[in-house]
Amino acid sequence: MAADNRISDEALVSAMATGDQDALAALNQRYGRALSAVADRILRDKADAEEVAADVLWQLWREASRFDRGRGSVGAWIMMTVRSRAIDRLRARKAREPRAGDPVEPAAANDPSSEIHSSERRRKVEGALATLNDGERDLLRLAYFSDLSQSEIAERTSLPLGTVKSRMRSGLIRLRDALQGSIE
C-alpha cells in the first residue's frame, strides 16, 4: 500500500521475521492510529479497540516469517484483520454505548515523510470516494463499519435487498477502479 520511497511495509515484515522490534514500531507508526480508529468505529469502546489493534500487530509480529505476500499487501491484510477481529469481538459481547470517560489519546508526532505520504494518499482516496454516488458511499461505509447482514442493511436503509447488493457491488468496483494505479 505504500507508494513512496519509505521502507516498504513488506520489508518491515521481513525485518520483523528476524526479531527486529524497530520494524514493529514502524508499522505501528504507520497504521496504529487507523487500526485503533477502525476497531473503535465498530466496537465503540476505545480500550477494546486498542486491544484489538494491538492483537493484530502482535499476530503479524508472531507470524511475520509466514506472511504470504501473494495474497495482498501488508496494509490490506492488517486492515482486513482488524475489522474481522473487531466484528468477532462485537458479536461476542453485548454492544456498549461509548463511555464519556473513554480516554482520548493525544496525537503522536509523525515524521515529515509520513505526513506527506499520508496527506497524498488521503487526497487520492477522497478523490476516488468522490466518484461514488451518495447511496453507494453510504452503503459501503455501513457495510464496512458495522456487523449488519445484507438483510439488516436493507431494513436499516429501507432499500430492497437487491438494490443494497447491487449498490454495494457497484460502489466497491468504482472505488477499486478509481484507486487502481493511484495507490500501490
Binding site: 496504529g32 492510529r33 494491538a54
Partner: protein, 285 residues
C-alpha cells in the same frame, strides 16, 4: 454457479457480506484455486483498506498500542516462548534465576579480587588488561544467561496467570466445563473448555494436537443453538505440554450446545471449513 456468477459476488465477499449458499459457493471456488477471483478479491480488499484508513482519520502512530505491544514483547522475548514451558517448571525456573544471580555475584567478586591482587603483584599492564577482558567476557556471558532465565521466569509467570484464569473460569456456580474428545483427525488429543459468563471468562486447555502447517491455525468454535458455529478464538499448539488460551465469549442469550476445534487458514474463517480435531458437548441445563 459458474465463474462469471462467482466473480460478480467477489465485491460482497470482500465486504464479508455473503451468506448461505452464495458464501459457500465463493469459498469453494476460491479454495479450488481460481487466480482471477483471488486477484479480484485482493484488489477489493486493498480498496477497502484504503477507504478505512482515510475514513478513520488517516494513518499515524498510536502510543497506547505501542505500550501494549511493548509489554507483550517484554513478556515474550525470544528464544523462549510461553507455550514451550510447562507449569511444572516454575520452581525450577526460579531456582535457575537465583542460581544465576549468585553466579553473577560470584564472578564479579572473583573479577574484582583477581584484578586487585594482580595489580598489587604485577606491573605488566598488558597482562592485566587481558585478564580484565577475559573476566569481563565471563561476566557478560553469565549476565546473558541470567537474562535468558529471566525471560523463562516471565513466561512461566504468564503461564501461571493463564492457569489461574482457567481455574477461575472453571469454578463458581455459573461455570460450565466441558471435556473435548479427540476425533479421527487427532484421536489422542484431549482438552477442556471452561465458560463462566458471570465472570466474563472463557478458557481453553488442550494437549496432544499435532503442529499446524505454516499456513494453518486451529480455530475454536462455540456451537450455538440459534446461530450455529461462532468464532471463539485462534491458537497454535505448544511444542510441549498443554496449551492454554483465552477465548471470546459467546453472544449473550445464545445457548451453547458444544465447542469444537477445526484446522483453518491462518487468518481464521467465519464458519468452519476444515477438519474437526476436538469436540465436546455442553450439558443441557
Amino acid at each position: 454457479m459458474d465463474h462469471a456468477e462467482i466473480k460478480d459476488l467477489i465485491p460482497l465477499k470482500a465486504l464479508s457480506r455473503l451468506e448461505g449458499d452464495e458464501a459457500r459457493a465463493v469459498d469453494e471456488h476460491l479454495a479450488a484455486g481460481c487466480d482471477e477471483c483471488e486477484r479480484e478479491l485482493a484488489s477489493f480488499t486493498e480498496a477497502l483498506a484504503a477507504m478505512a484508513i482515510v475514513e478513520s482519520g488517516g494513518d499515524g502512530p498510536s502510543d497506547r498500542i505501542w505500550s501494549r505491544l511493548q509489554a507483550r514483547l517484554d513478556a515474550d522475548r525470544p528464544p523462549q516462548r510461553i507455550e514451550d514451558r510447562s507449569v511444572r517448571e516454575t520452581s525450577r525456573g526460579r531456582g535457575f534465576a537465583m542460581l544465576a544471580s549468585a553466579a553473577v555475584a560470584a564472578v564479579v567478586a572473583i573479577a574484582v579480587t583477581t584484578v586487585f591482587f594482580n595489580s598489587r603483584m604485577r606491573t605488566d599492564s598488558s597482562d592485566m588488561s587481558n585478564e580484565i577482558a577475559a573476566l569481563t567476557a565471563r561476566v557478560v556471558e553469565v549476565q546473558r544467561n541470567l537474562d535468558t532465565t529471566g525471560d523463562q521466569l516471565a513466561a512461566l509467570e504468564a503461564k501461571v496467570a493463564q492457569t489461574t484464569d482457567l481455574t477461575l473460569a472453571s469454578l463458581g456456580p455459573d461455570s460450565q466445563v466441558v471435556r473435548l474428545g479427540g476425533l479421527p483427525a487427532s484421536p489422542s488429543a484431549t482438552g477442556s473448555v471452561a465458560l463462566n459468563r458471570a465472570e466474563g471468562t472463557a478458557m481453553l486447555e488442550v494437549s496432544g494436537l499435532p503442529p499446524t502447517p505454516d499456513d494453518k491455525v486451529y480455530e475454536v468454535w462455540w456451537i450455538g443453538e440459534k446461530q450455529g458455529p461462532l468464532k471463539a478464538g485462534l491458537f497454535e499448539p505448544s511444542s510441549h505440554g498443554a496449551t492454554i488460551v483465552s477465548l471470546d465469549l459467546p453472544p449473550p442469550g445464545e445457548v451453547v450446545l458444544a465447542s469444537a476445534i477445526t484446522l483453518e487458514p491462518s487468518s481464521g474463517v467465519e464458519k468452519p471449513t476444515g477438519a474437526m480435531y476436538l469436540k465436546g458437548d455442553f450439558p443441557r441445563r
